[in-house]
Structures are given as C-alpha cells and as structure tokens.
Symmetry: C2
Subunit: 308 residues, 2 copies
C-alpha cells in the first residue's frame, strides 16, 4: 500500500493506493503549521488512513508528499513553504525514523500534475495549470514530469504579457499572475470576503463594471498561460486546477471564450484549437495526493536502484 499526501495551507488530503494504482482510502484533515506541525499532520494522516483501511503501518511501502514551496531536486528538503510557516524542512529525515518507510517529496503543483495525468489525463502530453493565490504550471509528457534544469519548469506566472498591464507583486508589469492570480485579483477587488474571486464573478453577473473588468482580467491571464504552455511545451491538453477552479464552468467558458476571441485574427492560433484543449480538474479530485503517492513510489525505485 502506498500513501500520498497533499499538504495544503489549511487542509491535508491523503490517499492510500495499491500497487495497481487503485484508490484504497482517503482522508482529509486540518494542516498544523510550522515544521513540527507538518510532521504531526503527516503522521496523523497516515494513522487515519491505516485505521480506515484496517491495516497496520507495516503494510505501507512508501509515503509521498506534495508540498507548496521549492523542493531541492533529488532530496526531500522543502524550502520557502511560506503558507505553511516552514522555512526549511527535510521531510525524509523527520519522517523516515517514525514511519520506517521511504519518504519522497515533490512540489505540490508537480504532484498534482502527475496525479491529474494518471487519473484524468488524455494520452500524450499534458500541462497542469494551478490557479490559486499564485499561478504555476507543471508539464507531464509520456507520463514523465518535465523538471527542467533547476526543478522550476512551469513557472509561467511571472511571464509578462503586457508591458502596460497591472503591477505584479514580483515588481514587473503585466505578469500572467498579476492578471489572473487569486491574490492579485483579491487585492484589486479590495473588498473583504472569504472567496474574493467568487465575489468578483457574482458581482460581474450583477453588472458591476469593476468586477466585469477583473473577471475579464482573470480570463485573459489564464488564456495567456495556456498559449504559453501549448506553444512552448506543445501540451495536448491543459488541465486547470487549484482553488479558483471551484468556479467550475463559469471559469471554463470565460477562458474558452477568451481563447477563441484572441485567436480570431490568426489562422495559425485558430489551427491550435486551444479552447478544445482546456479542461477542469473534476471537483474533489484527489489528483495532488494521488500524484504524491506516485512520487513516493518512484522515489522508492530510485533508492533501490541507487543501492544496487
């Protein structure tokens, strides 16, 4: 039995998967902040999963963890997981003495991309575009994650697509994230609320002109990210995930319309049929935790190979 966890800023999603990739169980629990809190959360999730499956910890062969922040390539060391209050944490060093199984770690967007490809992916290549507070993507081709030189492939959020666009928190103007990031939209909207992007959509439905502009800005940024992913990485499909995709079809139709509109003058862009490549990660999909389980398993095979 393989365990995969998606450790998010507020919630942790955990799944147990058998060797054939079948889902055996799933639990969700609140994430404790800080390095100690994250470790306690992982152990608690593992115990809940084993209880749910009616097995002992010894039945677990690997644990894989998806974490926000940067993961040093080839290690289980996470740095700058700001949302979790973690500056630096070696999850293998912290967890392997407790769990007694190999622990693999990957950036959460990359884990979600692998899981989305395995659970919902078409054949061929796929980009996973995560629409949350920030914007990031990951690319899976032939079932393999494209990592790039420093493990940061897919960081499309800070590509500027308009020198006269909104100022981004990164300092540039017109970044994709400045148009479409949940954090940037909430800041530009300026009204408090638990779900600011949903508020924007609702206000736009009611005809609020500023909300209409922000809603168009979101579609424009997401469409730009999709163009970059298809033209640079030749992704056959772009799967949208992350908090903002809770908007569902309202978001997807906006984005598809913007892709169609922006391609209207270009036979070349029309030939790419970008609107047909976009799909939403199904609501409630365990993609990120499932992908983390795959990463844990892959990590284990590498270990075995490395040990000869």
């Amino acid at each position: 039995m393989r365990v995969g966890l998606d450790v998010g800023g507020t919630k942790t999603d955990a799944v147990a998967v058998d060797d054939d990739g079948r889902l055996l169980g799933r639990v969700r629990l609140a994430t404790e902040r800080g390095s100690g809190g994250v470790v306690r959360t992982v152990v608690a999730a593992v115990d809940l999963l084993t209880a749910e499956a009616g097995v002992r910890r010894a039945a677990i062969s690997t644990v894989g963890i998806g974490m926000p922040g940067q993961v040093r390539p080839g290690t289980a060391r996470v740095v700058h997981a700001v949302n979790l209050g973690v500056e630096e944490l070696d999850l293998a060093a912290a967890l392997e003495p407790v769990l007694h199984v190999p622990v693999g770690v990957e950036n959460d967007v990359k884990a979600a991309a692998l899981g989305a490809h395995a659970l919902h992916g078409p054949g061929g290549s796929m980009a996973y575009l995560n629409l949350g507070t920030g914007i990031a993507a990951a690319i899976v081709a032939d079932g393999v994650l494209w990592r790039g030189g420093r493990g940061t492939a897919g960081e499309v959020g800070h590509i500027s697509v308009d020198p006269a666009g909104p100022l981004c928190r990164c300092g540039q103007r017109g970044c994709i994230e400045a148009f479409a990031g949940g954090g940037a939209l909430a800041e530009r909207w300026g009204r408090s609320g638990a779900l600011p992007v949903r508020d924007v959509f609702d206000a736009a439905d009611g005809g609020d002109p500023r909300a209409l502009l922000l809603r168009a800005s979101l579609a424009r940024g997401v469409a730009a990210a999709i163009r970059v992913l298809v033209l640079t990485a030749d992704a056959d499909a772009v799967v949208l995930g992350g908090g903002i995709t809770a908007l569902g079809e309202r978001l997807r139709t906006d984005v598809a319309a913007e892709l169609t509109r922006s391609a209207a003058a270009s036979p070349f862009m029309r030939s790419l049929r970008l609107d047909e490549r976009v799909r939403l990660l199904p609501a409630g999909s365990p993609a990120a935790a499932f992908g983390a389980a795959l990463i844990g398993a892959a990590h284990d095979s590498e270990e075995v190979l490395a040990r000869g």
Copy 2:
C-alpha cells in the same frame, strides 16, 4: 561513419562523424530547390563527404537530415518546407533505396538544438533559440529533445507579449516574432539590402532614430523569448543561433542589457540571472549538421529495437 546534413534554404552543411562523435569531415554546397533538388543535394553531399574522407558509401552507417518545415513525428516525412519549395517529401522513401542506409529526419531547429547541446552545451538543460526570418526554439534536457505532444514544442515565436505591439504576419499583435523575427524587421525597415538586420544595426550606430527603435525591438523580442524559455522550461542556458546571430557581440550585449533592464524592478527576475544564461552559438559551428548526425544514429537504434 555517420553523416548529418543541415539542408537550408540556400546552403546545405554536411558533416561526417565517427561513433565517438568526432568530426571526420565537413562540406558545404548550394541547396537545389524542390523535392528532387533536395534529394540530389543530399546525395551529392554524401558523395563529397566520402570523397573527402577517402571512404566508400558502404562505410556510412546512418544519415540524419535537418530540414526546415514540419517533420511528422516518428517518420522521415517533411511537410511545408516552404523555403525549399517542398510541400511534402518522405526522405527515407526517397533516399534509402539510393544510399542503402537508414535515413532519419528532424526539424532543423531541433537538430541544431541537439548539436549545440552536444558540441557547446553546458550540463543540465538548454534551450536553443533560432533567430532567422522567423523565431523558433527547441529544448534539450539531459541530452534528450523535448518534443511535446505534436512535435512542436519550442514554437515561442507566436507568443504575444504586448497587445499594443506590432502586427504579426500570423494575425496577432505583439508576437515575439513580430518584435524580433528577421522577416518582420526587414519589412518594418523597408529598405532593400541583402542583410537588412545588419543594416538596421549599422544605421542605429549612426543614430538613425527608426533603426534605433527596430534594434530595441529585436532585443526586446529576444529577451521575451528567453524569459519564456527559462520560466516555462527552466533552461539553464539559452544558446542563440540562426542568421541574425552573425551580428555577434553587438546582438548579445543588446539582449543582455535588455534582460538586465527589464529585471531591474523585480527581485524574482533578477534572481534568475537571465543575462548570464545567454550565449551565442560560435560562428561557423556545425551544430545543426552535427545534431542531424545524432538524430540519424538515434533513428537507427530505434529501428534496430523495433526489429527486435
């Protein structure tokens, strides 16, 4: 002995390489246009190479060919090689009965990327950015070409980076190619001349205001392409090749200055040290033909594997 050819619109560059990747010989000859012309050019180049190396055709184990235009994945079929007057051509079907060796074909930019990586590449991942009439790139990670779903990964030329930018021949505004493509620059410059981009640089050196704008436009487009390649594909290095790079250091310093200028307000972009990742393909490098030889060899191994 492996032969690799870069079949360009006016010239064909051909190399002979031994099994350890050492260059044994190199010839250049004019390209004949049309399907029959391309086939005759390849055969003539092979004969010149064997004569130069003092060996018979039988000493050749594989032939690899880099061609402009699209190559259907997994085949030797080239379509839309407009500059060569070729609408569709199966080079294996045309050449294998004559040369009696396996013939592999790849898009010329992808072949150049492989060759640049083998000859001049640093470790890690590399993007090759071809600056010619149009703009296209290819990405090599761990020695392997990233192809993407339909074999078109790296087509960054038609990513729009400014909705108020110049109109592109593709129909969009502000495409990277509209800023930096040799064809677009020549059209905007509007004066006749064999080397329009060099004319622009010379006129800019003389203070011509329109030339200064076009020179800045070139740097801006190339810098945008580099940002896209580093952020999306996490390329450790970006190697610039293609006709425009005959401008040498004048081009490289312009591009590096634009990368520094555009990152000035963004600690995140500064941390990527984009200016330090840019290098020029050395003048006269046989990268494209050399990469084609590697492709021919890889094609041969696949054949062997496929035949069991």
